[in-house]
Amino acid sequence: MSSDRGHEQELAHLERELKARDLLLDRRSREEMNYEVMHAMERISLGWLLAAFVLGGLVFLGLGLAWAYQIKWGLGVAGINRPVFWGVYIANFVFWIGISHSGTFVSAILRVFKAEFRRPITRASEMMTTFALIVAGMYPLIHLGRTWRFYWMVPYPNQRQLWPNFHSPLMWDMMAIFTYLIGSTLYLYLPLIPDMAMARDRTTGWRYRLYRLLALGWRGTEAEWQHLKTAITIFAFAIIPVMFSVHTIVSWDFGMTMKVGWHSSIFGPYFVTGAIFSGVSAVATVLLVVRRTMKLDYFLRAEHFDSIGKLILIFSFAWTYFFFADYLTEWYGGEAVGKELLTLQARGPVAPLWYIMLATNILIPWLTLWNRKVRRSFWGLMLVTLGVNVGMYIERYIIVTGFLTRNRLPFDWGVYNPSPVEILISIGSLSTFIFLYAVVSRVIPLVPIWEVREGQIAHSLRRIGRALVPTVTELE
């Protein structure tokens, strides 16, 4: 009898522990959840205002002044020169396109595979996709120099009735980014509609007017839910191949040239894997900051960071595989220019960067992320994920600017150093991303409350024999 009572107490203790650990088992009233998300969104601290002011200043400095200076004086103020005609702008472009893979991967792929830990983090990562694409999309315009000539790429015939060349990888690039930007923005917006309606019912003034407009008259009827769920499913399946195509096409900007080091059939999957690796790492970094600054501890828990940490480790393995396959093929080929490129990385001017990349993308994740404590610790995961993105940026920088310094004509070898204008524009674009994220996180609910509640309805604790186990019910 007393052993039965002891077992019951043990189960009660286990139940409390499981609920504390798992958001989807730890139900609160919908009213409470709505309040928590709305309160986090409406709270504007002095620190936030200060950060927004500094970021706004950096955006103005980078994009308002430095870019304007470049437009006035021409691309000559950038550090690009023969033989390096693609500089830090293109490296930044590739990097930001990579970051944009965060939302689609975390939201669409995990949704398709019904990974339940995705529920509270989908919107925060989808927002990253949209803002990263906006920043990435600026770089072809910046790199163009004569930005006002951009319309030459718009698909309509000129006065001689000549259309743009749709068989050019640069045209593919523009179309792929445009499709991805439209797709990911709509994919961000659709699941937001019910939360906009919730926000509409709880606000007044300008917020009410904005949420009312964006809620489109949502009431939450069965028909509205059915159409929305069907559309989200279609979007989830459609956006995945678009995501793969975007970074593959970016890699083809390089792969379609006859440049040694770039002309590689492995570049597509290599770039996509690297993009997801850096994108998921950036999601972890941003979520860590969001959790701490917006006090969303109820929604964003250690279990979520634990799962993201595992994903990062897996993508570190995958990226290393592609990196090594690419490296080994070049090494074994033994072509003189190829060997020179490898020497450039191992012992040349970019060697320090190259070794930092190997450390942050391979060594550190492999040595740390197998450990549950690191995956669940704020500073542990923060440092690893920041490191991964430093490493991934270096990878792009070396591939773009480093490889261009060596070619088949040794008399045409050169060096590249980014100019102050390029550095300021790069800082400005990074600040744009953070600024947009900081501002919009105070305007739209960062946690999809209805998705979390839906998950909570499907999750319960079930007693099997003498054990208490979490179970998921397939509602669909």
Binding site: S29, R30, E31, N34, P155, P157, R160, Q161, L162, W163, F166, H167, M171, W172, M175, A176, F178, T179, I182, G183, L186, L190, P194, A197, M198, D201, R212, L213, A215, L216, G217, W218, R219, G220, T221, E222, A223, E224, W225, Q226, H227, L228, K229, T230, A231, I234, F235, A238, I239, P241, V242, S245, I249, I449, W450, R453, E454, I457, L475, E476
Partner: protein, 173 residues
């Protein structure tokens, strides 16, 4: 006899499914009952008839239109102003696949979005029966019924645990 609209608010979904069955037994058509909630409940949870969804067809149609636009840009525009370069084919198939694919996906995505708006008649801010409690954790139920059935249905709703039963206002959303 004039029709009246009733709204009931429930705390849980189980009695809602029971009430739907009971209303059907009382001769209320499925079209005259609407469940409003802050969480999607699949039709089978509520015991509602499956409704054929047109959205996938709208999406497919959009994809087809996108495919045709892509095809025109790749194959049509070079024929409008043929320029042969270096003995290359005027309409090479592998590079044409990329833009055609992107436009197909763009058509699919845009038409899906427009399809949701069309099917849900969004945006629609006009006066509609609604109660904010229904997306704040409770489950709302709207019933259109003949006036003479009103007392009987109200009683049945209360018997099934409805927290509130009332004649709803129309809200400008």
């Amino acid at each position: 006899m004039a029709a009246k609209v009733l709204m009931a608010l429930f705390d849980h979904v189980d009695p809602v499914a029971e009430v739907l069955d009971e209303l059907r037994r009382q001769g209320i058509d499925d079209h005259d009952m609407t469940v409003i909630s802050g969480v999607p409940y699949p039709a089978r949870v509520l015991g509602r008839p499956m409704v054929w969804e047109r959205l996938p067809w709208i999406a497919l149609s959009g994809a087809f239109v996108g495919f045709l636009i892509g095809l025109f840009l790749n194959a049509g525009t070079p024929l409008l102003y043929p320029i042969r370069v270096g003995g290359q084919p005027l309409i090479p198939i592998p590079p044409s696949a990329v833009i055609t694919y992107e436009f197909t996906m763009m058509g699919l995505i845009v038409s899906t979005f427009l399809g949701v708006l069309w099917e849900s008649t969004f945006p629609s801010f006009g006066p509609k029966y609604y109660h904010p409690e229904s997306i704040n954790g409770r489950i709302g139920m709207l019933i259109r019924c003949p006036e003479e059935q009103l007392p009987e249905i109200q009683e049945m709703l209360r018997a099934h645990g409805a927290r509130d039963v009332f004649e709803p206002e129309e809200w400008t959303l």
